[in-house]
Amino acid sequence: MSGAQPILEIRGLRKSFNHVEVLRGIDLAVLPQELVFIIGPSGSGKSTLLRCCNRLEEPTGGSIHVDGVDIMARSTDINAMRRRIGMVFQSFNLYPHMTALGNVALALVKVLRKPRKEAHRIALGALDRVGLADKARAYPAELSGGQQQRVAIARALALEPKLMLFDEPTSALDPELVGSVLNVMRELKRGGMTMLVVSHEMRFARDAADRVIFMDHGAIVEEGRPDEIFSRPREARTRAFIAELAR
């Protein structure tokens, strides 16, 4: 994998909200097919970091390149870049007035300008990948939390993104529904998807992540292989956080 051009390359990223510095110079590169996990206490800036990657938050400084494109450049069409950056949210954010199929097909029709028929075919394929082809006609309210989150993954997946961002994808789920979402993410990993995941699912991180990053107070404290971070953290802050997680 070494030598490959990173899919995501963040340099010196800074973000402030009204003079409060939330990100203080983040450097991070994610290589093709890599699954990078970000952990850290709440308020450490991990969600903000993720949301800067598709400019849902506007960075204050630094640079972000996705697939070689400077997404902060004035000349960059951010909407065109966003369809190559899939995002999955903690609260799913499915469109309640559309069926699962409609949710997945919307951007295919309106952004990629696919004919409706083809969009539905692609959308159905994406729903199939998350195991929900049979729920295509269901509305979000008729689906369990786990199913809703899988539809949300399909919605991002249908656009064939180069990179997927997961913002605490299982935090809003009942424990028994977490597994189905993680299984889908595992499948994506196996299929070679590049993923940046903010989550506290340690078991999943251990067996699926290539790298774990521990953030605190807007900076990366340490990073390493999952077993290093979880079993032999070097930094005292990381140790304290891991111990807290494991309780």
Binding site: R82, R83, F89, N93, P96, Y139
Partner: protein, 227 residues
């Protein structure tokens, strides 16, 4: 029981009912015409203003707020008289029908803009973010994701407000618009009997009850379980 025939004679005089029925029906046609025109232009303008406000361009938003507040604060009757008797002094004289339509449209636009705006605000931020994250632009997100949800939420208050404003077509009587109340008061003064007024009242009930029922139907039809 002695008062009973007199009561019937004053309010339900059959001869007068027959005589003034055509006039009242003419009023019904005028009322429906104005009400329909007001609903179309008022709601369309209100929606457009709410959408413009969604762009959050401060000076424009401020103007919209000033307009909405002014037209919600002023009694429609004051506006009608002001426009009808004031504008000719500026060399613009509109027919009474047009004045009534214009004023009520603006009043409905002011109220509905506020309701539509509240509806837009009530759609969770996550809906915007999810849509934008798939590459949809601001306007596409507004049209395909946010507005459909916002509009459903606004159906009950919009229906109520629309009924209130369209009932105000009766104010047209003071500037001589030949709507229901105008026909009824004219007939009343000719006959010296309250029967035409009662006919007008009953006509309003017949006209507006279906609208109220329709509003209730829409309310349940467009409600859906959230999340």
């Amino acid at each position: 029981m002695q008062g009973s025939p007199r009561f019937v004679d004053v309010f339900f005089n059959w001869v007068l009912i027959e005589r003034y029925f055509p006039a009242i029906m003419k009023g019904v046609a005028v009322t429906i015409e104005i009400a329909a025109a007001v609903v179309v232009t008022g709601l369309a303008l209100g929606l457009i203003l709410a959408i413009v406000r969604a762009f959050r361009f401060l000076p424009v938003s401020a103007l919209i707020v000033v307009f909405a507040d002014a037209f919600r604060a002023l009694p429609p009757l004051v506006l009608i008289l002001l426009v009808y008797f004031g504008l000719p002094n500026l060399g613009v004289s509109l027919p009474s029908f047009a004045v009534l339509w214009l004023v009520l449209s603006l009043v409905l636009a002011a109220f509905s803009e506020e309701v539509f705006w509240a509806g837009l605000l009530s759609v969770p931020k996550g809906q915007w973010e999810a849509a934008r994250s798939t590459g949809l632009g601001f306007l596409e997100t507004l049209v395909y994701v946010v507005l459909p949800q916002a509009l459903r939420l606004t159906v009950p208050p919009i229906t109520n407000r629309t009924v209130v404003i369209t009932k105000n077509t009766a104010l047209g009587t003071v500037i001589g618009v030949g709507e229901i109340l105008n026909q009824a008061t004219t007939a009343q003064s000719f006959s010296g009997n309250a029967t035409p007024l009662m006919m007008g009242a009953i006509t309003y009930v017949i006209l507006f009850i279906p609208v109220v029922v329709l509003g209730r139907f829409l309310e349940t039809r467009f409600a859906w379980r959230r999340l």
